[in-house]
């Protein structure tokens, strides 16, 4: 399988703090890659640097053979790099449907139609409902985003990202705060998605990570300290000391 | 030449006194106070009234800013606190309304005549500096500003209060979890900013005139300072007030009418290349 996105000695420093330090990872197409590590290991910063929320201090990000290290956020999204946020980032005053429709409409290039009604674009509406059904929000389309339960809001996060037709989807702790039922839905969704696209996860739920990932990278203090299949990671001594060791110790 | 340089420094000092208060309020409470200029003017008017009723100038320099600070605390509690949770646009609009209101009240109470604070007799006269006669009072203003700024830095760096304030600017949740009443911190910070503006007002009174729109006119330059220097950055504010003070003074000397146009253009150009200001501490919006 080919590599869809890779970073090359990527660094992101805040003053003297090396939040992401010399990280080189490759994400294969149609696979699930998990990035795990203790709190403050730099996982979210890595996501932010890959998706353009933060500029890289050094190193490169390559997507599909193209250097995107300095591309603005919206261009990365256009290429197919979509993400969710650890802290929900929604259009809270709008309905569930509108949240996804705006993303879909942007993706389909219909945003400059200044004289048609925003709700009259049949193809956009249809595609929006398809996505809502996929994440299980079909029945809540007309509810306001800020009245949803936390779990539903997390699902809406994913739906908005999916509306961008991602080639690679980066999920920042997608199941944090979700019930077991909701978590299972997300797992099923990821397993379905990965037949078509690459998925990258930041996750604390180790069981989940081990069960669905094809490859795992372990971060500690800004650096990658181990990489491999779930089995290899479980056996990796350094990883056990730095990360799993911590957990067993408590 | 020396005279022009000193005048540049003088305006810079005034700008710094006012904008540093704005900066602290923004840095800690995330409130952009568009009424700050009016509180500067309020300090000047308090000073004017006290001095014209025979209060000693130095006493007025102490009392008037404290009064302005008190007004600031009350205003913070009454109208800014209730909308703290709302979008920043609302605070901007609200404090804008507040400045219009206060400026209007000046006309109501003190009339819109242009007035001056009586200079203390001990500071009249001039000093011979390298062959140039420079007014004593202006030198006093420079010295006083340096003292106030040093005092402020000491307060922020060395005292427990300063520590709480600095901590509150980065992790307010943590500070309030430690049992510090954030409402009090916000009120205190706002008051402190107003005291600084008040000092600026009294000190400027004998130099520049006292009139209702003085604050709003000053405020524009102060915001330029704030934006150029970088929101929340104290060192940036010092650097930027020197820049703006110099540009504005030179502008008035060489361009008269279009002096402010130069200042605005400078801000536009700097923002074009450094959207977060010269020394931003990454807290911009």
């Amino acid at each position: 399988m080919s590599t869809i996105l890779s970073t090359n000695s990527l660094c992101r420093h805040f003053g003297g703090v090396r939040a992401v330090n010399d990280v080189t990872i490759a994400i294969r197409d149609k696979s699930v890659k998990a990035v795990i590590g203790p709190n403050g290991a730099g996982k979210t910063t890595l996501f932010n640097t890959i998706t353009g929320r933060l500029p890289a201090t050094a190193g490169t990000v390559v997507f599909d053979g193209r250097d995107i290290t300095n591309s603005p956020v919206h261009e990365r999204v256009k290429l197919g790099i979509c993400r969710t946020f650890q802290i929900n980032s929604l259009f809270l005053g709008a309905t569930v449907f509108e949240n996804v429709r705006i993303a879909k409409q942007t993706r389909m290039g219909k945003s400059l139609k200044i004289f048609s009604k925003r709700d009259s674009l049949a193809d956009v509406n249809e595609a929006t409902f398809e996505i809502l059904e996929k994440v299980g929000l079909g029945g809540k389309a007309s509810e306001l985003a800020n009245t949803l339960s936390y779990g539903d809001q997390r699902s809406l996060e994913v739906a908005i990202a999916l509306a961008g037709d991602p080639k690679i989807l980066l999920l920042d702790e997608p199941t944090a705060g979700m019930s077991q039922l909701e978590t299972n839905n997300i797992i099923r969704l990821i397993q379905k998605l990965v037949k078509e696209i690459a998925v990258v996860l930041v996750e604390h739920d180790v069981d989940m990570v081990l069960s669905i990932s094809d490859s795992i990278s372990v971060m500690h203090q800004g650096s990658i300290i181990g990489e491999g299949t779930p089995d290899e990671i479980c056996k990796n001594q350094r990883v056990r000391e730095a990360y799993l060791g911590d957990e067993n110790g408590h | 030449m020396i005279q022009i340089c000193l005048n540049c420094l003088l305006l810079s000092a005034l700008l710094l006194l006012i904008s540093i208060g704005l900066n602290i309020i923004y840095g800690i409470s995330r409130v952009v106070n568009l009424a700050h200029g009016s509180l500067y003017a309020l300090g000047a008017y308090f000073g004017y009234s006290m001095v014209s009723y025979g209060v000693n100038f130095y006493a007025a320099l102490l009392l008037a800013p404290l009064l302005a600070g008190l007004c600031g605390v009350v205003l913070e509690r009454l109208i800014i606190e209730p909308i703290r949770h709302r979008d920043m646009t609302y605070t901007l609009i609200l404090t804008y309304g507040l400045s219009v209101f206060i400026d209007g009240m000046f006309k109501f109470i003190w009339s819109d005549k242009v007035q001056f604070i009586q200079m203390p007799s001990s500071l009249r006269g001039t000093l011979n500096l390298f062959g140039v006669h420079y007014p004593n009072y202006r030198l006093f203003v420079l010295a006083a500003t340096v003292c106030v700024i040093l005092g402020l830095l000491a307060l922020l760096e060395k005292t427990k209060l300063g520590m709480i304030m600095r901590a509150a600017s980065t992790i307010p949740e943590m500070v309030s979890a430690l049992g510090v009443n954030m409402k009090l911190v916000h009120m205190g910070v706002f008051g402190l900013g107003c005291v600084l503006a008040g000092i600026g007002g009294v000190i400027a009174g004998p130099l520049l005139s006292v009139y209702p729109m003085m604050g709003s006119e000053m405020l524009l330059s102060c915001f330029v300072v704030l934006v150029i220097g970088g929101l929340g950055s104290l060192r940036g504010a010092i650097l930027a007030s020197l820049l703006v003070g110099t540009a504005q003074t030179l502008g008035f000397v060489f361009l008269t009418d279009f002096a402010m146009v130069i200042v605005y253009l400078m801000m536009a150009v700097i923002l074009l290349f450094m959207p977060k200001g010269l020394l931003a501490e990454g807290k911009f919006d």
Binding site: R53, Q105 | L92, L220
Partner: protein, 332 residues
């Protein structure tokens, strides 16, 4: 599915707005007094200006403290052209010219402004607004400084060779203004209900998320800004046509505050609210300035109270009333 897409409500609003327009067309035949007709004309012009700020503030979430500057630019462009170039110039020359100059100057400011957001954006509007104001005010040899330009010839309203009337006639002035503003209103309304309007709203709601769904935020902010300034420029052109005079107070900082006040008073994000705001403000100002010279105090107080207690403005009242009526009907 129909319910989620929901476009029924929109049609009802359109009907009501069309009825209000009809009432405005009939107004001069009810209102005998010429003074009041001029006042209503002025309200409609300022309503357009306030509406243009609503596009920026209520839809895109960007604050401009000096929006009146762009009205002033449109007004001064026409005034200067009429005074120095061709006093008899047709509206088909001066109208596009006024818009064109506004658009060029607004683009210069906007291009830089959209690189920022929030507070820095608002501050840059002040910087550029004050800059344009100072240039107009201090260029005494052309603009006559504080005195402004007075006694300008009022243009004929013509459609090709047919002359419909002259702006000197208050009835012509009223109908011309109403026609232009109505077109602007319904076009803007359509644009705000389009997918483009949805993009502007998404930027207001959550700028960061908007860029992460692939929106080029800077470009769209610039487009919103240009739309708002073009409309402001149109209001300026109309102003010169109607008044036959311009002065720097049209575009100073206080004027900027007044527009903001009208938009707030009316209620943001509705477009039509701006007209209610303009009407309320102009009537109030007439009323208060008859009693006291110090109306600044009341303006400031009104802004404070409105932000604290009625952030949605006067437009919220009919909306709430409408909701209550619908609820009652569904209960029956």
């Amino acid at each position: 599915m129909e319910k989620a897409i929901g476009n029924k409500k929109d049609r009802k609003g359109l009907v009501i707005q069309a009825l209000v327009l009809l009432a405005l067309v009939l107004l001069p035949f009810v209102l005998g007094n010429k003074f009041y007709l001029r006042l209503v004309t002025e309200i409609i012009i300022y309503g357009l200006l306030a509406m243009s700020l609503d596009v920026l503030l209520g839809f895109t979430g960007l604050l401009s403290f000096m929006h009146a500057a762009y009205m002033g630019i449109g007004a001064y462009t026409v005034a200067v052209f009429l005074s120095y170039v061709d006093p008899g110039a047709s509206i088909w020359v001066t109208f596009p010219l006024g818009i064109a100059v506004t658009v060029v100057l607004a683009f210069a400011a906007g291009w830089l402004q959209v690189r920022t957001g929030g507070f820095a954006f608002a501050l840059l509007t002040v910087a550029f607004g004050m800059m344009y104001y100072t240039l107009v005010w201090k260029a005494r040899s052309i603009t006559c400084g504080d005195d402004g330009l007075c006694g300008l010839p009022k243009p004929d309203i013509s459609l090709g060779p047919i002359v419909l009337g002259n702006m000197n006639d208050s009835l012509t002035a009223y109908f011309f203004t109403l026609a232009v503003v109505a077109v602007c209103f319904f076009v803007t309304r359509r644009i705000m209900h389009s997918p483009f309007g949805a993009v502007l709203e998404s930027i207001r709601e959550n700028t960061e998320r908007a860029s992460f769904i692939g929106i080029n935020v800077r470009n769209y902010k610039l487009m919103g800004w240009m739309l708002a300034c073009t409309l402001a420029g149109i209001s300026g052109v109309l102003f010169t046509y109607m008044k036959g005079s311009v002065s720097p107070t049209l575009m100073d900082a206080r004027a900027g505050g007044i527009v903001l006040m009208m938009t707030l008073l009316g209620g943001m994000g509705t477009l039509w609210g701006a007209f209610i705001g303009a009407a309320a403000y102009i009537f109030l100002q007439d009323f208060i300035s008859a009693m006291t010279e110090n109306w600044m105090v009341f303006l400031g107080l009104a802004v404070i109270l409105l932000t604290l207690f009625m952030p949605k403005g006067l437009a919220d009242l009919p909306i709430r009333l409408g909701q209550r009526l619908t609820r009652q009907r569904s209960n029956l």
